[in-house]
Amino acid sequence: MQVATFAVTHHRFLDPSGRTVQPLPAFANDPETLRELYRAMVLTRTFDTKAIALQRSSRIGTYPSSLGQEAVAVGLAAAMTADDVLLPSFREHGAQLWRGVTPTEMFLYWGGDERGSDFAVPREDFPNSVPIGSQAPHAVGVALAMKLRRQPRAAVCVFGDGATSKGDVAEAMNMAGNWRAPVVFVISNNRWAISVPRAAQTAAATLAQKAIAAGIPGDQVDGNDVIAVRHVVGEALHAARAGGGPRVVEALTYRLSDHTTADSAKRYRDQDAVAEAWKEEPIGRLRAYLTGHGAWSDDDECQLIDESTARIDRAAEQYFAMEPAPPSAVFEYLYAALPKALEGQRDEVVQGHHHG
């Protein structure tokens, strides 16, 4: 006797060559909207390239590139409103840029300066979460706060395929389902958890189906098709803000880069597979569509590259020019007011005794 059946649907609008496989959603009929998504993905890749160069020259620390995953970050951010709250992992550079985090702030953060997470905009977004999946329950708390205040807002929590193995994520999805919390969990499935491939992470056929055990809908989307990401996350957010409860969106993409600048993926993966994955990457795909529809030219491309490079270079210069925070900052933000018991330790740092 069958007591329940479940299905996971895969969504795609553009195939890897940029051809449409079904009618586009309404927003995608405006070429300027698509150009905006395209520019954001190129800016993200430009930022990545610069960040890696800065790491190689010791101007920032270890850095996780989002090469190949730009459509996930940009697509989900484009689906959000300013009032929604993003809880990223640490590879959603494109989402942060879209939402108003400046490349200067991002260089600061990756350069080892906490001020980089004090975003001027958006004030309520969470900083990167380095411990895998540990931000998922935060997203439920954020969403619960929104729901209790009866605000038409939602939280978007992003994590990778590896995070779906964590109890934090299972607990978060389960609680979100219980409380019908307005949260969308986006799984950026880039197929690799450092050296462990997706197939070794779980026996589950899809990661979207992790939602089903929590009693919430789970969909799969082509994560290299920014139109699909924007559309599916957008629908999930629309439902969440209207009281429809949480959803899970698994975005299939590929980590074309090393895990971070401290990693060497050649140790554990076949370069032929990476070369295959390059054929599906998101930027060329959307450019092919736009070019094919007369909405993008070589001149547009040259201009965009110049502008993006100039903007990111300017941000790097601003980052280089920033004065370091004073030593007292080590203590200044630990508590709202420094407890008396810690004043001696602070004074020692401020007076420089730690330099011996």
Binding site: E114, S134, P137, H138, G141, L144, A145, E171, Y333
Partner: protein, 328 residues
């Protein structure tokens, strides 16, 4: 004024905070209609509704993580963990998020949450229900750890914890939840955090303790008085950060100190207090003694009494701090 036990005082403090501030909500396992396994949240769901008193799934990491998210959004969550023995799943959230959210965002996002849990042994409980591992929590930067020892301090310190703009782990001495009562004014007045309470003044020796061990320590002080030893008793109350100024001032006066805690000896906070006293010139005039639990697994009910610090061990330790003055 009403007669309250510690369990009543904690309940009254939560009810007061919830009535005063609609951002305050309670969440945890069985905190709703059941009122919590120790009945600490009894009646709150009737007063404030299921939107503000949330029964959660059995998911301690999730409970703590949800509280971080709520707090970052400006809510004032009070999350209950049913026993300290089940709190360890929240330590990732405490260390990696609650204690550092303010620091890592330069104050843009903060974490005004309270994580409550009953701690300690002596009630012949099941396995994992008797631990006293507060030192693990007190090691975490950016959080506070508070343990009350009387109904009045339970009330005032919990109100302070709820109103505090930073995360507070509030451990409840379950052995004395119902051990005694006193007049407590439900007047919304908080007591100061980061401050020791001198429960008894004395000239000859300082007894430093917290939580349920305050009971044995005060009884020991009474017996010592009958032997001509005038003991000062300090309830540390906030274990992170510790108000060492009050402890140092006391020991500067008495010259001798015994630290009493239920937690295991090694790495326990008695060691930290002893070290801090040793770092002060001319304060200690005798050896420090620590009366603590042992570096063992807390025994189950049948052997538990051999683990718990006793009045006689405290008395012996006091005499050992002053061997030349008081013959054994």
């Amino acid at each position: 004024m009403a007669e309250m036990r510690i369990v009543d005082a904690i309940n009254a403090a939560m009810a007061r905070a919830m009535a005063d501030d609609e951002r305050v909500i309670v969440l945890g396992e069985d905190v709703g209609i059941d009122g919590g396994v120790f009945r600490v949240t009894d009646g709150l769901i009737r007063k404030f509704g299921a939107d503000r008193v949330l029964d959660t799934p059995i998911a301690e990491t999730g409970i703590a993580g949800v509280a971080v998210g709520l707090a970052a959004q400006g809510m004032r969550p009070i999350a209950e963990i049913q026993f300290l023995g089940f709190l360890y799943a929240t330590i990732d959230q405490l260390v990696n998020h609650a204690g550092r959210l303010r620091t890592r965002t330069r104050g843009r996002l903060t974490c005004p949450l309270v994580l409550r849990a009953p701690y300690g042994g002596g009630i012949h409980a099941l396995e994992h229900h008797s631990e006293s591992t507060e030192a693990m929590l007190a090691h975490i930067p950016g959080v506070r750890v508070v343990i009350p020892s009387s109904p009045a301090r339970a009330y005032g310190l919990l109100l302070a914890a709820i109103r505090d703009p930073d995360p507070v782990v509030y451990l409840e001495p379950k052995r004395i939840y119902r051990a005694g009562h006193e007049e407590v004014a439900d007047d919304g007045a908080a007591l100061p955090l980061d401050t020791c309470f001198v429960l008894r003044e004395g000239r000859n020796v300082t007894l430093v303790t917290w939580g349920a061990m305050v009971v044995e320590t005060m009884m020991a002080a009474g017996l010592l008085a009958s032997q001509g030893i005038d003991a000062e008793v300090i309830d540390v109350a906030t274990l992170k950060p510790i108000d060492m100024a009050t402890i140092v001032a006391s020991v500067r006066k008495t010259g001798r100190v015994v630290v009493v805690h239920e937690a295991a000896l090694s790495g326990g906070l008695g060691g930290e207090i002893a070290a801090r006293l040793a770092e002060e010139d001319g304060v200690l005039r005798g050896p420090v003694r620590r009366v603590t639990g042992y570096d063992t697994v807390v025994p189950l009910a049948k052997l538990e009494r051999h683990y718990m610090p006793s009045i006689s061990r405290i008395m012996t330790a006091v005499r050992e701090t002053m061997p030349s003055e008081i013959p054994a």
